[in-house]
Amino acid sequence: MNSGIKKTSIYKIISMVILVILAILFAFPLYWIVTGAFKTMASINATTPDWFPKEWVLDNFNKLFSRQTAPLWELGIPFSSKFSADGKPIIFTAGPVVPAAIRWLVNTVFMAVMAMILTCITSAMAGYALAKKRFKGQNLLFTLIVCAMALPKQVILIPLLREMSSLSLYNTVWAVIFPTVGWPFGVFLMKQFSEGVPGEMLEAARIDGAGEARTFVEIVVPMIKPGIGALAIFTFINSWNDYFMQLIMLNSTSKLTISLGIAKLQAENSTDFGLIMAGASLAAIPIITIFIMFQKYFTQGIAMGAVKG
C-alpha cells in the first residue's frame, strides 16, 4: 500500500514536470510573437536569440501602422446591385481613415461574427427539422451532410471561385462567409442536440395552438441553447482561422483579413521579422484577451458540444 502511494506520487511529479515543460513549449510561440513585436531590429537579427527584449520599442508597430490606409469600415450588401435603383451595389463606408492593419482586424471580426450568427440561426433551424420532422429525402439529406462534413474546401476551390465570380461576390467578405455557413457540420451538431428535445413538449405546444415558428423559438431554442453556444464558438474560431477561403476569395488590401495580412507581410518583408511579429501580435492579442476574459463561457460552451456530439 505504502509503495503504491509512493508510485502514484512519483508518477504525479513526473507528469507535472512534463506538463510544465509542455506548457512552456505551447506558450512559447505566443511569447515570442509578443516580445518580438517590441524588440529592436538588432535584437531580432541577433544570431544568439535575445530571450527577453533588452529595450522595448514601438518601432515595429509604427512601421506597421505607417503602411497603407483604409477607411475603418466598409460594407457592401450582397447582391444589392440586383435591386438597388441605379443597378449599383449598395456600399456603406464609415469611420475615419485608419492603418490597413486595423481595417484587417475589423474585417476579420465582422467576418467571424457574421459567419457565426448566420451559421447558428440556419443550422439550428435545419438541425431541428432533421431531428424532429419527417419528410421526403430526409435520409438522403442526412447522408449527404455526414459525407460532406469533413470535406476540405480545397476540393471545390475552382468551381467555388468561378461561382463567386459570376455572383459578383468575389473579393467581398461574403464570399468567405457563405461557404462557411453552408458547411454542414453545424447542422449535424444541431441535429444531435435537437434530438434531446422531448416530442411530448412539441406535441403539447401544438395542441396549445402554437405555430411552427413559435414552437421553435419558445421551446426548441431554449433547450438547445448550450449546443448553439458550442457551435457559435466553434464557428467563430474556425472562420477566424480559415486562412484558405480568405486567400482565395479576397485580394484588395482593404478587404484582407488579419491572417491574410500577416501572410502578406511575411511574403513582402521576409527580412523584417519585427514587423511581422507586430502584425501577428495585433492578430493574436485581441482574441486572446477575449478568450481569457470569457474563458469560463468558452470552455463551457465548447464542452457542451461534446455532451451530445
Partner: protein, 303 residues
C-alpha cells in the same frame, strides 16, 4: 420507428403540413449548403472530365476519364495522397491520446491552476494558425532557428538541421505544428467530460479495490466515449483542413514531401493552370473523405 406506423394513420393534410414546415426550416441552411457546397461539388465532378485551363480563348476539351487515368500515374499526386493520410492517421490518434493524458493529469487540480493549464494549451488555437506558423517558421530556420540553436547548445545535434528543407523532417515538423494547434479543444472537452464523471462511482470502485488503471478503463472510459467520438470527428476535420501550414512553411516541398492533396489541388490550379486535373483530384479526395466520415459515423452510431 414508432412514428412511421403513426404516420399512416395521420391524415394526409397533417403529413403535408409537416413536410412543408420541415422544408421551410431547412430552407435557409439549404441555400448555403446547396449553393456553396453541393453545386460547386457537382461542377467539380463535371469539370473533372475536361481538360480545362485559364485563358480567354481556350475551350474546355472533353477527355472522359483522362484526368483520372493520369492521376493514378502521377507520382506526386500519389505521394500527396499518402501524405494526407499520414497526417490524418498520425495526428488524429496522437491528439486524442495525448489530450486525454493531459486532461486526466490536470482535471483534478485546483481551479486556477487548471484553468491556467487549459488556457495555455488552448492558446495556439486562438492565436490563429497564420500567426503561429510565422513563429514556427522562424524557430525551424536552418541558420538561426531556435531548434538548431538549442539543439546544438545542449549537444543534441552537432550540425544544423534544415528542418523544413529536409525530406526526412519536413512532414513531421508540419504534423508537430498541426498537433499544437489542434490539441486545445480536445483538452477542454476531456477536462469537462472527466469532471462530469460521477465521483460516487469512482469511490465505489476504490472501495472494491480497483487500481487506477481499472478505474479509468472500466468506469471513466465508457462515460467519456461520446466526447471521444466528438473529438475524433473534429480532429479529423481539422487535420484535413491543414493548408495554411503547408502553404506558408514549405509550399509542399522539399521535393513534394509535404504536399497534401489539398495543397496539390491549389498548386495544380494556380501554378500549373490545370483546372480539370485539379478538380479530378478533388473528386478523388472527396470520395475518400466521404467514405471515412461514413465509417466514423457508423462506428459512432453503434456505440
Amino acid at each position: 420507428m414508432a412514428r412511421s406506423s403513426t404516420v399512416t394513420s395521420r391524415s394526409k393534410v397533417l403529413v403535408r403540413r409537416e413536410t412543408r414546415s420541415a422544408y421551410l426550416f431547412l430552407l435557409p441552411n439549404m441555400i448555403f449548403f446547396v449553393g456553396f457546397v453541393v453545386i460547386p461539388m457537382i461542377l467539380c465532378i463535371y469539370t473533372s472530365f475536361f481538360d480545362s485551363t485559364m485563358g480567354n480563348d481556350t475551350k474546355d476539351v472533353f477527355i472522359g476519364f483522362g484526368n483520372y487515368v493520369e492521376l493514378w500515374k502521377d507520382q506526386i499526386f500519389l505521394r500527396a495522397l499518402k501524405n494526407t493520410f499520414v497526417i490524418v492517421l498520425v495526428s488524429v490518434p496522437v491528439v486524442c491520446v495525448f489530450s486525454l493524458w493531459v486532461s486526466s493529469a490536470i482535471y483534478r487540480l485546483r481551479g486556477s491552476i487548471l484553468s491556467t493549464f487549459r488556457c495555455i494549451f488552448y492558446l495556439p488555437v486562438v492565436t490563429g494558425s497564420v500567426a503561429v506558423t510565422v513563429v514556427w517558421k522562424w524557430m525551424f530556420n536552418n541558420y538561426y532557428g531556435i531548434f538548431n540553436y538549442v539543439g546544438k547548445g545542449v549537444g543534441l545535434i552537432d550540425k544544423n538541421i534544415n528542418w523544413l528543407g529536409d525530406e526526412k523532417f519536413a512532414l513531421w515538423c508540419i504534423i508537430l505544428i498541426l498537433f499544437t494547434t489542434s490539441i486545445g479543444q480536445p483538452i477542454v472537452l476531456y477536462v469537462s467530460a472527466l469532471g462530469n464523471v460521477d465521483t460516487s462511482l469512482v469511490e465505489a470502485s476504490e472501495v472494491d479495490g480497483a487500481n487506477s488503471f481499472q478505474q479509468f478503463w472500466k468506469i471513466k472510459w465508457p462515460l467519456i466515449m461520446p466526447t471521444t467520438l466528438y473529438i475524433l470527428v473534429i480532429t479529423t476535420i481539422n487535420s484535413f483542413q491543414c493548408f495554411a501550414l503547408i502553404q506558408l512553411l514549405t509550399s509542399g516541398g522539399p521535393n513534394h514531401s509535404t504536399d497534401t492533396v489539398m495543397y496539390y489541388i491549389y498548386y495544380t490550379a494556380f501554378k500549373l493552370y490545370r483546372y480539370g486535373y485539379g478538380n479530378a483530384m478533388g473528386v478523388i479526395l472527396a470520395i475518400f473523405i466521404a467514405l471515412l466520415s461514413a465509417v466514423q459515423f457508423k462506428l459512432a452510431k453503434e456505440k
